[in-house]
């Protein structure tokens, strides 16, 4: 393979990885934007999404098969279930803490994260579960670069979800209310907006997007594991900060940038793929030093 082929292949890998990061980062950034909470349980919702998708797929596969029909159906069911789980977490764990000092709710989020990951660990005995699909290995060959149709479909689905979200946020009244609440909650109340309802909706959408990414990751990697949410939670957080936390466009951009940087980073001599996490968190630290507000973030800086 020529250097160009390698770079193109990494471009494809980076886009796939980046779209997972972006989907998870969106939920992070939406929740942060609206109630200024770093929802550390968000990566675990991605993990739950993967497992619930896995469960639904085994339920519907008899009827719809393990190809796209079955996968799409179980992905939608997983998005709804995890969306509701996110709402439940918001209502039970976060809502009572909103008036408490910021640190308390942050610790609550850590606790929720542990409850979810340990709960799934107990239920699965900490085993890997094979996410078996029936998608084949055909794909597009361009010179020495090969991309499977599955990979293309994953990137396209992620892009569709993001475009839909973008449309919702910018064009619908509830989307505009979401952005306005991030600016001034009391003013929103005076517009007749039921702020709690919109916060609930935000948790639903953010969690559902994480679940979609979880199911996609199950399809892509072929297995799911209770610990899979931990690293991606941190990565999505990194992506959200790279883009500028609180910014929707920033989360999309940050996810893609991080995915591409990681993919290309593995090609730098002496930085093999085992260094890729060091590489991405190194980028986070550098960014925090030189541009703490992120690529598209506002100038407001707050201490946690």
């Amino acid at each position: 393979m020529s250097t160009l082929d390698i770079l193109l292949q990494q471009l494809a890998n980076g886009l796939i990885l980046g779209s997972f990061y972006a989907l998870v980062a969106l939920g992070y950034t939406m929740v942060y934007g609206i109630i200024k909470l770093l929802n550390f349980a968000h990566g675990d919702l991605y993990m739950c999404g993967a497992f619930i998708g896995f469960l639904f797929l085994s339920l519907v596969s008899g009827l719809l098969g393990e190809s796209w029909g079955g996968i799409l159906c179980s992905m939608i069911l997983s998005m709804i279930t995890v969306g509701l789980l996110g709402v439940l977490i918001q209502r039970v764990a976060y809502l009572p803490m909103l008036a408490a000092p910021r640190l308390s709710i942050l610790i609550t989020a850590l606790a929720v994260s542990m409850v979810l990951s340990n709960g799934v660990m107990a239920l699965t005995d900490g085993e890997y579960e094979a996410f078996s699909t029936d998608l084949g290995f055909e794909g597009l060959e361009m010179g020495n670069v090969f991309v499977t149709y599955t990979q293309i479909a994953l990137v396209v689905s992620a892009a569709l979800l993001m475009v839909t979200l973008f449309f919702f946020i910018n064009r619908t009244m509830y989307g505009k209310a979401m952005r306005a609440i991030a600016i001034d909650q009391d003013a929103c109340r005076l517009m007749g907006i039921n702020v709690n309802k919109v916060i609930t909706l935000t948790f639903f959408i953010g969690s559902a997007l994480a679940a979609a990414a979880g199911v996609m990751a199950g399809v892509y990697y072929g297995s799911v594991h209770f610990f899979m949410g931990f690293v991606i939670g941190l990565k999505a957080f990194t992506a959200a900060v790279i883009g500028g936390i609180g910014s929707i466009r920033g989360a999309m951009l940050g996810g893609l940038v991080l995915g591409l940087l990681e993919a290309f980073g593995t090609q730098i001599p002496f930085i093999g793929s085992e260094w890729k996490d060091v590489f991405s968190f190194g980028i986070l630290i550098l960014l925090l030093v030189f541009k703490p507000t992120g690529l598209l973030g506002k100038t407001e800086i707050e201490r946690m």
């Binding site: 009244m173 505009k176 929103c188 517009m191």
Partner: protein, 238 residues
């Protein structure tokens, strides 16, 4: 026969231990302009915040168009047509002027109604129409006040609470805003106006109340209050 649109009875409001409203009662009749005057910290903003539901009254009752609203949440009160333009305008900076206005019509379901109201607001404040696609943060203080008022007129507004609309504005701007208030009132909107600028407010109003440390100490027809130099001196610091 005049109709009482807003009735406040023995309302008390606290901020923690601070007793900000110490049992105030007053009423506003439909079609009137009523002004609430008082020095800094008298409790004017707290009164408006308690009416619109941002703060909860600890005692007393508030009713709007005959319906008790004391324990209703702000979004329910807004959907009844009671709209509060808060102190400091609180426009959504980072969103366009048009989006700010659209948010004002959040409770409207009808798209054509929304368009009709937006046209009305653009007619009242042509500068908002010119800049509708721009970030609201780029407006001057006076223009921000226009946007805040325009936003409040984007729904079926029956009673408008205005908290110091003239604050920080140049004198000719103050006149412009007062003219708009008069016109809105002529169009059928009842107005409860909080002001530090007592002269300008009394010129416009039908009736006035003066608040001091959470209590109403003077009330009367605006014309009377205006003439009574001692009141203006004692309570309004002029």
């Amino acid at each position: 026969m005049s109709d009482v649109i807003l009735e406040i009875r023995d309302v008390e409001t606290y901020y923690g231990k601070i007793h900000a409203l110490r049992g105030i009662s007053f009423s506003v009749e439909a079609g009137e302009i009523v002004t609430l005057l008082g020095a800094n910290g008298a409790g004017k903003s707290t009164t408006l915040r308690t009416i619109s539901g941002l703060n909860r009254a600890k005692a007393g009752s508030i009713s709007f168009m005959g319906e008790e609203i004391t324990t209703k949440s702000p979004h329910e009160i807004v959907s009844m047509g009671l709209i509060h333009v808060p102190e400091g305008r609180r426009i959504f900076k980072g969103m366009t002027i048009k989006e700010n206005l659209e948010l004002g019509s959040f409770t409207l379901k009808d798209e054509s109604e929304r368009r009709r109201r937006m046209e009305h607001v653009y007619e009242l404040f042509p500068v908002l129409h010119e800049r509708r696609q721009r970030d609201a943060a780029l407006l001057s203080g006076g223009e921000q006040q226009m946007l805040a008022m325009g936003r409040a007129l984007m729904t079926d507004t029956k009673l408008l609470l205005l908290d110091e609309p003239s604050m920080g504005l140049a004198p000719f701007m103050v006149q412009g805003i007062m003219k708009i208030i008069k016109r809105l009132n002529a169009e059928g909107v009842t107005i409860l106006l909080v002001e530090q600028n007592a002269k300008a407010a009394l010129k416009l109003a039908d009736y006035g109340y003066v608040l001091e440390t959470g209590e109403i100490v003077v009330k009367g027809k605006a014309g009377k209050l205006q003439q009574d130099e001692s009141i203006v001196k004692a309570y309004l610091g002029e």
